[in-house]
C-alpha cells in the first residue's frame, strides 16, 4: 500500500466514524481487504484500488452498523494518529449525527476524497444518476448545517 492510499482510507474512516479508535481499526481492516485483492509483489492501479476500497469500506461500515458499534455514535475528539484536522468540525459532526449512511459515505467518497462518480457507481453497482442525486441531496443538507452553524456562532 502506498502512503497516499493509506491516507485515503484513513481519511474516509476518520470522517465516517468520527471515533479515533474505531477509525484506526477500521482503517487497518479495510487496508487488509485491499491487500487481499492486490497481486503479490505489485500494487493495484489507482482506479482499481479506489473501486476495491469503496466496496470494502462500504461493507465494513455496514458491518459496524449491524453490530451497532460504539464508534459510530461516539464523536471522540481526534488525537494521536491524527496529525492535523480541520478546525471547524462542528457542521460535520452535526451532519454525521443526522444524515443517512449512504449520503454520508457518498459525500466522503466523492467530495472529500474526490473519487470519480463512475468508480463509485461501479463499485457499488449503482447507476451514476442515483449516486449523483444522493450527493446533491447530502450537499444540500450539509450546506444548511454550515449556515446554521455559522449563524449559531
Amino acid at each position: 500500500m502506498t502512503e497516499s492510499q493509506v491516507q485515503t482510507v484513513a481519511t474516509f474512516f476518520f470522517y465516517a466514524l468520527m471515533d479515533e479508535k474505531s477509525a484506526a481499526t477500521a482503517c487497518k481492516r479495510t487496508l487488509a481487504e485491499c491487500r487481499k485483492a492486490t497481486p503479490k509483489n505489485s500494487t493495484l492501479p489507482e482506479d482499481k484500488f479506489l473501486e476495491v476500497f469503496v466496496r470494502a469500506s462500504s461493507e465494513y461500515y455496514e458491518k459496524l452498523q449491524k453490530k451497532n458499534a460504539k464508534g459510530l455514535a461516539g464523536l471522540a475528539s481526534p488525537k494521536g494518529w491524527i496529525e492535523k484536522a480541520p478546525e471547524n468540525l462542528g457542521p460535520w459532526k452535526q451532519f454525521h449525527r443526522s444524515t443517512k449512511k449512504e449520503e454520508l459515505l457518498f459525500i466522503i467518497w466523492n467530495r472529500v476524497l474526490k473519487i470519480p462518480l463512475p468508480v463509485i457507481s461501479k463499485a457499488l453497482n449503482m447507476s451514476e444518476g442515483t449516486v449523483s442525486y444522493r450527493i446533491g441531496k447530502a450537499l444540500n443538507k450539509l450546506g444548511s448545517m454550515i449556515h446554521s452553524d455559522v449563524s449559531n456562532a
Binding site: G80, S132, L142
Partner: protein, 315 residues
C-alpha cells in the same frame, strides 16, 4: 427555438449537476433562467456551494507518519502488535498469555521435564529397592572379613548401584544363609523363583582388570546378559552383565578375589534363568570412586535397610 422553462422543483433537482458542470448547455441555460426566477433555487445553490467549499476544507486532514507507516506497505509488525496488544481487554491478554505459556511448557516437555520426571522415578525406585530388615539377608561374599559401615552395619545392597535394566524391576531380596547358597539355587529352581547376583569389585586398576575380565569371561563360557557389551564404561566404573555357567562360579570368584575386594549379593528376581546358568551383574570401580559413591549414599536409607551380613558365599 424557444427555451423550455424549468419548474422550481426541477431546478432544485438539477442544482448539483449544474455545480458539477455535467448539465448539457441547453439545460444549463434553462437552469440559469430558473435561478433568476425562483429565489429558493438560488438559496439551495448557495448551500450546495458552501457544502462543497467545506468538503474541500475537510480534505486537509493528515495523519501521523507513524500511523501511516504502521499500516502502509512496509508494516512495522512490532509496532502494530504493540498497538493491537494495548487495545485488547485484560481478559483476552491473560488468556493468550496462559495459552502461550502452556504451549511453551508443552514444547519443553519432551526435552526437559521427561528427563526430570524420569530421574525422579529412578530415585523412587532406588528407595523401593532398598530392602527392609526382614527381606535382605545375603550379601554373599567379600574377600575380607566384614567391613562395617559407619553406622556399624554393612549395607551391601546400598553400596551396589542398580543396573539400567533393573531399575523398574520388582526386587524382593530373599536370600538363603551364606553357607547354604547352593541349595537355595536348587530350591529356587523347584519353586520357579529367579535370582540375580549383584557384585561389586574394588580394584586399583579397574580399566586394566576390566579388559582381563572380559577375556576371562569369554574363555569360560559367559554370555552377554543385557544390551551393553561386557565391560561397558559406566560413570567411573565398568559394568558387566552376563550369564554364566553355574559350575564355573567358584573359578570366577577366585579370579575376582585375586584382583581386589569383592562383594556379591544374591537377590530374588522375576527372571528365572535356565538350569545351570546364573545371571551376574558386576561393577568394577577403583577404591576412590567407591569411597565417593559411599559418601553420596543417603544415610537414612542405610539405616532403614538394617543390618546385613557379609562373608564368603557360594551360590
Amino acid at each position: 427555438m424557444p427555451k423550455k422553462e424549468l419548474s422550481e422543483f426541477f431546478c432544485k433537482e438539477l442544482i448539483y449537476d449544474y455545480v458539477d458542470k455535467t448539465l448539457p448547455e441547453e439545460k444549463s441555460k434553462s437552469f440559469e433562467a430558473g435561478l433568476k426566477k425562483f429565489p429558493g433555487v438560488n438559496s439551495d445553490l448557495q448551500k450546495v456551494k458552501r457544502a462543497i467549499d467545506y468538503c474541500n476544507q475537510l480534505e486537509q486532514v493528515s495523519f501521523s507518519p507513524d500511523f501511516v507507516r504502521q499500516v502502509s506497505g512496509s508494516w512495522d509488525i512490532r509496532r502494530l502488535l504493540k498497538a493491537e496488544w494495548a487495545s485488547w481487554s485484560p481478559l483476552y491478554k491473560w488468556s493468550l498469555q496462559a495459552l502461550v505459556l502452556a504451549a511453551f511448557l508443552a514444547g519443553l516437555y519432551p526435552y526437559v521435564f521427561k528427563d526430570f520426571l524420569r530421574s525422579r522415578a529412578f530415585k523412587t525406585t532406588i528407595l523401593a529397592e532398598a530392602p527392609s530388615e526382614s527381606l535382605v539377608k545375603e550379601p554373599i561374599l567379600e574377600n575380607q572379613t566384614a567391613e562395617q559401615s559407619p553406622a556399624g552395619n554393612s549395607v551391601a545392597a546400598n553400596s551396589i548401584p542398580p543396573t539400567p535394566d533393573e531399575r523398574s524391576s520388582e526386587i524382593v531380596a530373599a536370600v538363603e544363609p551364606t553357607k547354604e547358597a547352593a541349595s537355595s539355587v536348587n530350591a529356587a529352581k523347584t519353586t520357579g523363583k529367579g535370582y540375580v547376583y549383584r557384585g561389586y569389585l574394588s580394584t586399583a586398576t579397574p580399566e586394566l582388570f576390566s579388559g582381563q575380565l572380559v577375556t576371562f569371561l569369554n574363555s569360560n563360557g559367559a554370555e552377554k546378559g543385557g544390551e551393553v557389551d561386557l565391560g561397558w564404561r559406566r560413570n567411573d566404573g565398568f559394568y558387566f552383565h552376563f550369564i554364566y555357567p553355574e559350575n564355573q562360579y567358584e573359578n570366577l570368584l577366585a579370579h575376582l578375589k585375586s584382583n581386589g575386594r569383592v562383594r556379591i549379593e544374591k537377590s530374588e528376581h522375576k527372571r528365572v534363568m535356565p538350569e545351570g546358568k546364573i545371571r551376574i551383574i558386576l561393577i568394577i570401580e577403583s577404591p576412590l570412586t567407591k569411597d565417593e559413591s559411599r559418601n553420596d549414599e543417603n544415610q537414612p536409607r542405610s539405616e532403614a535397610t538394617g543390618p546385613a551380613t557379609q562373608g564368603e558365599a557360594a551360590p
